[in-house]
Amino acid sequence: MEHYNMNLTLKIWRQKNKNDKGGFQSFQVKDISSEMSFLEMLDVLNEQLIHEGQDPIAFDHDCREGICGMCSLYINGKPHGEWKGNTTCQLHMRAFKDGETITIEPWRASAFPVIKDLIVDRTSFDRIIQAGGYISVNTGNAVDGNSLPINKDRADASFAAAMCIGCGACVAACKNSSAMLFLSAKVAHLALLPQGEPERHSRVMNMVAQMDKEGFGACTNTGACEATCPKEISISNIARLNLEYLTASIVAEK
């Protein structure tokens, strides 16, 4: 792979804390290698800022291999940037050309308030899981793993939904800031397995109620979530969620 160096202009959202109004600030970076990851490019900028005596840009990141779900940048109007099925940390600079201007913002959603610069608070996702995103089984209760055969296709579909990394890109991409793809992935993961059966109805009702309480918007089926999801979670999970919700509403005795 041929590599090259580039000079870039970065337009980055700065916000001191959640009470600050915030605004864009521009920076120049030079000699960025096309082999760098996007976050390594920001590392270069931060080193530069520290040496100049300025505050470095705060951004969330941890594993830098696309699986922890911590990184969360809105790059040129797209969550996690241009590449399909990708997280910000796996975006590499060969996606950009010399002289380009790159705009970097945090996730924008009222349920994800900004903490500082590009960092947002996503604990609303944890609270949705607390509302029912689990199977109630205490340690030590389990029977032999092979005592309950599970159809491979269903197990694979369950796994495909369980791959969600909880990054929140679906919310950031949605014009309504809906968390339906995130929620549906969890509901589908558990509803597709026999272990999830006993709590099937209460789970979906409680998780949806919590989602509404957190201030996420409604789903209008535009599909921006699926298009942007770094793990390519299918929008068909939302159809499953709706079915689960409808069934649960009908059978609900409460």
Binding site: C68, V137, N141, N146, P149
Partner: protein, 657 residues
């Protein structure tokens, strides 16, 4: 000081006997007992969930924005269990034996046997939680083989096993949060432990968002904070992975065991330049199908695909015919380094070897053609079919490789090189996972206990979950049963006040240095010293130099580090400075330990001690012990030796030929 408290009796019965006789706490008392858990990876999340279920009052802390981000999530390959579902001769004993042998006879028999015993329960528990493991068409669980073993005992969920197991534990944890049994503290970092009358009674934590220090009381504290591979700057660890919690514990009396035992993983994507911030692993499972080779000719300039078969050196298959490409990690890593050092490396840096799937693609393609009963199929068509099979097995790993390198591994062999991955060393713990400080426990990668000098693939997930789900619920109960008379200590106790002040003073000192060098640049320099002199190969001369260099670096850090911003705000540079300051001190201890151990074993390879064929040469007569280091004063440690007694397994030279 060092008493492993291994129960008496035959090895097979020890854990059963222990469980049958350990003290219990009645449910009404459990509600009054508080447990603090630091870290929410597999060990921490499973412990928090299990102890919450039992009724203890649990407080769990993580530095990330959610417990689900812990770095266990990045484990790719799988988790071992002695289920013997494949009928290929596996058993609790065989898993125990492989783990002890894989660790080059530097692990404790009793702990490893217990690990092997509970391994099956872990799979059952995870399945019950809804972990979507890979399955066969009959609906039963699928297995694959992993390096260093000859049976198929590894359970997996594509290349994302760690993620699925952690999500399982995280969900169990969040369920306890919802039930009010666990209180979760996100974006918090533990900065000290508080000991009162010889027992750990709490912690000082920093709220990373507000920068405020907090005091938390606990009848017991569990450190589940993972490994310290980031001491090398470049590793496969997450950017935030750090040694701080266990290092603070070490400074407050907990012995640190075998600090120099580091696992260098053979198959990682090579360094591409100075900007590199971390390294990415390519799962060991790739070695099931990929063949590792270098050109036979030094300084080869042709592309991989232009080098004919007879001019390639499949050096693992050549040196280790019995295990071939599936030798354990330490052996594979050293062999790669040996070839590159000898001038046979590939790629622009020449610090890489090929991991080639061309043969596997052809083999799988032919099988597909055979299934369809077709004849006269062109090689191109066979390759297309073979690629489909390889994609099904390793698709996500191939995609990751392509994103990082920009090269297509279906067409060109991958380039790989060893990288720091896991640390077998950690806080010394006894059979109950208690450190040398009463009331202070250490679980998972953060302790030293189960992997000896080298960890086998798919054993880290097993240990993290064994400790959290199945060991600590018994052993911490055995301690807390005597604590039912101890009321919660108010956090205005002088010990808390003093500890908080010490933490605040240190932060003030750091902020006021106002020097000229960034934390990152100093961390990079530490990493280089460690990698060059305490990395894949070590020698006495280099280690002595490294100790001096680290001491000098420490002085430089404390006189010239530059931290922007202020204390009472979200300040990632300050967080990093706190961690790097601890890494520097740890680096010195690692070199001291490596220098003390005049032998080669597992991942610890001292160049002075090798066989004529270049294999690790152990010295069982003098070094068959766990090195537990007690900090006496700054840069001054006392060595305590815990002898390792092998009652059941007879140590031999590890042989994978």
């Amino acid at each position: 000081m060092i008493d492993a408290k291994i129960p008496a009796g035959p090895l097979d019965d020890k854990w059963t006997e222990y469980k049958g006789h350990c003290k219990l706490v009645n449910p009404a008392n459990k509600r009054k007992l508080e447990v603090i858990i630091i870290g929410t990876g597999l060990a921490g999340a499973s412990a928090a969930a299990s102890l919450g279920e039992l009724g203890y009052k649990v407080k769990a802390f993580c530095f990330q924005d959610s417990p689900r981000r812990a770095h266990s999530i990045a484990a790719q390959g799988g988790i071992n269990a002695a289920k013997n579902y494949q009928n290929d001769g596996d058993s609790v004993f065989r898993l125990f034996y492989d783990t002890i042998k894989g660790g080059d006879y530097r692990a404790r028999e009793a702990n490893v046997h217990r690990l092997s015993e509970v391994s099956s329960n872990i799979i059952d528990q995870c399945v019950a939680q809804g972990v979507p493991f890979a399955r066969e068409y009959g609906g039963l669980l699928s297995n694959r083989s992993f390096g260093g073993t000859q049976v198929q005992r590894t359970f997996y969920a594509a290349g994302q096993t760690g993620q699925q197991l952690l999500i399982g534990a995280y969900q169990a944890l969040e369920r306890q949060v919802a039930l009010g049994n666990v209180k979760m503290y996100n974006r918090h970092e533990m900065l000290d432990i508080v000991n009162i009358d010889g027992k750990t009674r709490g912690i000082i934590a920093r709220d990373l968002v507000s920068g405020k220090l907090e005091r938390h009381f606990g009848h017991a504290v569990l450190l589940c904070t993972g490994g310290y591979g980031n001491v090398f700057y470049l590793s496969t660890n997450a950017m935030g992975s750090n040694v701080t919690a266990i290092w603070k514990a070490h400074k407050k009396g907990a012995a640190f065991a075998n600090p120099c035992f580091t696992q260098i993983h053979p198959t990682c994507i090579p360094v591409s330049g100075d900007h590199q911030s971390k390294l990415t692993l390519m799962s060991e499972s790739l070695r099931n199908d990929g063949r590792i080779w270098v050109p036979q000719q030094k300084g080869e300039t042709r592309k991989a695909i232009d080098i004919p078969e007879e001019e390639r050196d499949y050096y693992l298959e050549r040196r280790y015919p019995a295990f071939g490409n599936l030798v354990p990690r330490d052996v594979a890593s050293r062999a790669a380094k040996e070839r590159c050092d000898a001038g046979f490396g590939v790629g622009t840096s020449k610090q890489a070897v090929y991991l080639d799937f061309a043969d596997a693609i052809l083999r799988y393609g032919k099988i597909e053609v055979g299934k369809e009963g077709r004849e006269n199929v062109s090689e191109e068509e066979i390759i297309v079919l073979g690629k489909e099979v390889v994609k099904e097995k390793y698709g996500n790993l191939f995609d990751m490789y392509e994103k990082i390198t920009g090269e297509n591994p279906y067409e060109l062999p991958m380039r790989i090189y060893p990288a720091v991955h896991y640390t077998m060393g950690g806080l010394w713990v006894d059979y109950e996972l208690q450190t040398t400080v009463k009331g202070l426990y250490c679980l998972g990668e953060a302790n030293f206990s189960d992997h000896g000098a080298n960890r086998l693939g798919a054993s880290a997930l097993m240990q993290g979950l064994a400790d959290g789900y199945f060991v600590i619920p018994y052993t911490v109960g055995n301690y807390l049963a005597d604590e039912i008379y101890s009321k919660a200590i108010p956090t205005d106790h002088p010990a808390f006040v003093e500890a908080e002040k010490a933490v605040a003073d240190r932060i003030d000192t750091l902020m006021n240095i106002k020097g000229s060098q960034s934390v990152e640049s100093l961390h990079k320099r530490l990493g280089k010293i460690m990698w060059d002199k305490c990395g894949m190969a070590r020698n006495a001369e280099g280690l002595k130099q490294a100790i001096e260099e680290i001491k000098a670096l420490k002085k430089e850090f404390w006189s010239d580090v530059k931290i922007p911003g202020i204390i009472n705000e979200y300040n990632p540079e300050l967080d990093k400075a706190n961690r790097v300051a601890d890494f520097i001190e740890l680096g010195e201890l690692m070199c001291v330990d490596a220098l003390n151990r005049n032998e080669s074993c597992g991942g610890h390879f001292r160049e002075e001690y090798q066989t004529p064929e270049g294999e690790a040469l152990r010295d069982d007569a003098n070094y068959m012990y766990v090195a537990a280091w007690e900090l006496k004063s700054e840069g001054n440690w006392e060595l305590h030796k815990e002898p390792l007694n092998y009652d059941v397994i007879k140590p031999t030279q590890r042989n994978y030929k």
